[in-house]
């Protein structure tokens, strides 16, 4: 499912966070949102996910205005993982993943259907957590914990998955593990993925599309090789970088230093 934002303006008190933003996120693609701290990346993601509805302009999910879609209905099509999630310390992985079935249940009908069980099993297997399902989330390593939260979002069986810096605080191997899962979700299951990323090289390697946010607006949008250039890094981040080619032919951006102010 495609997400398209038009003329998006978000204000918090008297402060403008996003100003007349137009951005589109293609169906079945992985799009990375990058930009400096405080540029409005997380705000953009929350508006796209329907978590923040204090905006002017429109967001359309597959042509339907987000404001016209009820909350449970939206949660069956779109899942978001914000930053800094916490669960009660005795929550098990399976319990957490099962919470992903919440939008499919109602006040009175909370029972576990066959469909619920299958969705939970599928989410656990995609994130390779079957062996951990009876473990408490707090007893897991950072990478496993992140996978458990991703599994919860997957149990929603969304068409669109939004992630806010999914690799923050993880060591390099867990970072790659999470990025591989995200890649698999798009390639095997055709999920549309929109993720805020910090690491420019993750964006270069794992995204089909890049959206660069700077100064409350979109600085650039396009294919990674077109957008992620040393010139863009200098203009947006004030960082001097060199584009290198690795032995297997992939492009890598190597930061060299901060450009003189």
């Amino acid at each position: 499912m495609a997400l398209i934002a038009k003329g998006l303006t978000v204000q918090l008190g008297h402060k403008t966070i996003l100003q007349k933003v137009d951005a589109s996120f293609a169906d079945g693609k992985r799009t990375a949102i990058i930009g400096p701290n405080g540029a409005g990346k997380s705000t953009l993601l929350k508006v796209l996910a329907g978590l923040n509805d204090k905006y002017t302009g429109t967001v359309a999910l597959e042509g339907r205005d987000l404001r016209q879609i009820s909350r449970p209905q939206l949660a069956r099509q779109l899942a978001i993982l914000p930053q800094g999630m916490t669960a009660p310390p005795d929550t098990t992985v399976r319990q957490l993943v099962d919470y992903g079935r919440f939008p499919y249940r109602s006040w009175l009908h909370g029972s576990n259907t066959q469909e619920d069980r299958e969705a939970v099993e599928w989410a656990l297997s995609v994130t390779q957590l079957q062996a951990f399902q009876e473990r408490q989330v707090t007893s897991l390593s950072g990478g496993e914990r992140q996978r458990a939260w991703i599994a919860m979002a997957l149990a929603q069986q969304p068409k669109v998955l939004l992630l806010d810096e999914p690799t923050t605080y993880l060591d390099i191997s867990h970072q790659l593990e999470v990025m591989q899962i995200i890649k698999k979700l798009q390639q095997q299951y055709g999920m549309t993925v929109i993720m805020v990323l910090h690491d420019i090289n993750h964006a270069l390697q794992y995204a089909d599309e890049i959206v660069v946010v700077k100064n409350k607006g979109i600085f650039a949008q396009g294919k990674p090789v077109e957008v992620l250039t040393p010139e863009m890094l200098a203009a947006v981040f004030g960082v001097q970088a060199e584009l290198l080619r690795s032995s297997d032919g992939r492009l890598v951006l190597a930061p060299m230093g901060i450009t003189a102010p």
Partner: protein, 336 residues
């Protein structure tokens, strides 16, 4: 296996949860039985069972029917209400210190209840409805004051502290101006069950029944709310609506209890914590566990408070605080 793995495998299984519920239920039954048996006149257990089955054969029927039984029922219902209310509030406020005081129940009920007692002597029958109105009024007031583009738990807690301080000033002023009539008011402030009988049972049970059913119905929502507002919203919950409804349920439960027995403290704070330690934070189990443990704690405490210093009857609120405060400190040191 690493240490983390061993800890992780130690999750609370379904069997353990159900056995804890059974133990709590047995404790509640024991509390109720002891509360009917013990007192200035001892009633044998066999006779109580006969009386409860409707066979009025024993010589203690009057005591059981008119004094012990209703008082015990009030104690159990008050324990259930306050514990459920505290358990709900701890989850939806995301704060382990949340209890019915935090939404102004005590200060609101305290002020209006004491007003009636001190300003309108001779209208004691108005104390319960006035306290109920005061409790709900304070809760609504705090909710409105804390509202600004939705409720943030921390704003609600701070608004609660401010409103309670404001109302507390009114209570103190009344007690100073009418210091000659203050005895009844003091008993009310501490919370006690003496002379509570069938009218109080009739007042409180509909709230207990409705509150329990609504809370259990909302237990899956409470579970998801524990993950935080953003996650809950992302999972499709109308967070503001659910929080408002659950706050209302918690307020009604606590207000009905407090208006009947006075400002009984600590039950709403401690019982949910103790239950959570044993049964975990899944509210589908925690809510019934809190209710059963609450009934057990209040009936047992009241029995003890009534008999330990006979013929003087200690208000149960004093005993609860004396036992509750150290227990709470113990939990605090264990958990944090």
């Amino acid at each position: 296996m690493t240490k983390a793995a061993v800890q992780g495998d130690n999750s609370i299984g379904k069997l353990r949860r159900i056995s804890i519920l059974v133990i709590f239920a047995a404790l509640a039954c024991l509390g109720i039985l002891l509360s009917i048996m013990k007192g200035s006149v001892e009633v044998p257990a066999a006779e109580i069972i006969q009386a409860l089955l409707g066979r009025m054969t024993g010589s203690h029927d009057q005591i059981i029917q008119n004094i012990r039984l209703p008082r015990t029922i009030v104690a159990a219902l008050v324990g259930i209400n306050l514990s459920l209310s505290g358990a709900i509030l701890q989850a939806i406020m995301k704060n382990p210190l949340a209890d019915p005081h935090i939404i102004g129940i005590s200060s609101g009920a305290g002020l209006t209840g004491i007003m009636v007692m001190l300003l309108l002597p001779g209208y004691e029958y108005l104390v319960t409805p006035a306290a109920f109105a005061g409790a709900m009024g304070a809760a609504v007031c705090i909710y409105i004051l804390a509202w600004k583009n939705g409720i943030r738990p921390i704003r609600m807690i701070l608004a609660g502290v401010a409103v309670s301080a404001f109302l507390g000033a009114g209570i103190s002023a009344l007690m100073i101006f009418y210091s000659d009539r203050v005895h009844g008011a003091l008993m009310w402030m501490v919370g006690g069950l003496s002379a509570r009988s069938w009218p109080q049972v009739e007042m409180i049970w509909p709230y207990t029944l409705a509150g329990f059913l609504l809370a259990v119905l909302g237990s899956r929502h409470i579970n998801v709310l524990q993950l935080g507002d953003e996650i809950a919203k992302g999972l499709g919950m109308r967070v503001e609506l659910v929080r408002l409804l659950l706050t209302a349920v918690a307020a009604l439960l606590a207000a009905s209890a407090v208006s009947v027995v006075g400002l009984l403290g600590f039950v709403g704070l401690i019982v949910p914590h103790a239950a959570r330690l044993l049964i975990g934070s899944d509210y589908r189990y925690l809510l019934p566990a809190s209710a059963l443990l609450g009934a057990a704690v209040v009936t047992l405490s009241d029995t003890f408070a009534r008999t330990a210093f006979a013929p003087t009857e200690l208000p149960v609120g004093i005993l609860m605080a004396v036992l509750g405060a150290p227990f709470f400190l113990f939990l605090l040191r264990r958990e944090m």
